[in-house]
Symmetry: C2
Amino acid sequence: MQNTTASAMAAEFETSPERVRRTQDFFSIGDLAKEFDITTRSIRFYEDQGLMSPERRGQTRIYTQKDRVRLKLILRGKRLGFTLAETKTLFDMYDRDGSSVNQLQTMLRLIDDKKLALRQQLEDIKVVLHELTAVESGCLAELSEKTKENP
Amino acid sequence: MQNTTASAMAAEFETSPERVRRTQDFFSIGDLAKEFDITTRSIRFYEDQGLMSPERRGQTRIYTQKDRVRLKLILRGKRLGFTLAETKTLFDMYDRDGSSVNQLQTMLRLIDDKKLALRQQLEDIKVVLHELTAVESGCLAELSEKTKENP
DNA sequence: CATGAAGTTTACGTTAACGTAAAGTTTTAC
DNA sequence: GTAAAACTTTACGTTAACGTAAACTTCATG
């Protein structure tokens, strides 16, 4: 009861015997938005930024499995802390150059940068947590002192 | 030859017997900018946002040790991921009535919220670090495979 | 005296990743 | 057959923390 969209409906009412497919060939922008729990605005924005370029049927965007994988990669990149620009750089390299050594090295550099930044952030957070705990202790002490007179 | 600023002027007019000071009493905006390696624009911005309010000599801002400590706290907060608004909230609470039970409890709630958020962030970062390491391993494997043929 | 270094205010510009609204054209549903 | 859904483009708005430029005053110095 979760697929009430165009393509799903099409599959459900598909009557042609030789065309029964387990995997969808095409997706609407709404399909993808629903699947990945993002807005259509985001998907169009990614296209605007040159990260995707789906086919059109007239005005309407038609997404293939390849586009879907791209979107998935974009979102994974985001989860990993990559900017859209960084992800686009990787895509461009891949598009031009298959999976070149160059691209892999770029990827590794990016990953290393991220890891370094995250480790720094991790340390910072630990420090703050300790400091917060210290301040908290101070507050609690002061508070117990104050409620001593006023129980 | 480095003190041609407000503090020098203050020293000049100093009549108290203990005239010789190891610590500066006053600072110019440039002094602080240099000391903390930030721009004067930033310092004025913090004032604009209500985090500081230095005295004036005419138009010119005159900063005291207390202002300097404030700035230091602002920057520490920033390093640790606090927004200026959050830092301001803490400042305001402290300025108003750092000793009232009510304020202390508010403070404790705020601290607790922050700690919770930071612990969550900590976990998130750890997860991403692991994922990054996994992706890195994949890249390295692919790379070693590619450079096998092309040493 | 000129000049340049440091200070001031006002105010628009920047970045990232979309949100939101308007205004229009299909598509689908009942 | 008509209303609702879904799609489209265009374009301005949002947030945080400043950057940058203009246009000015004050101060110190060679």
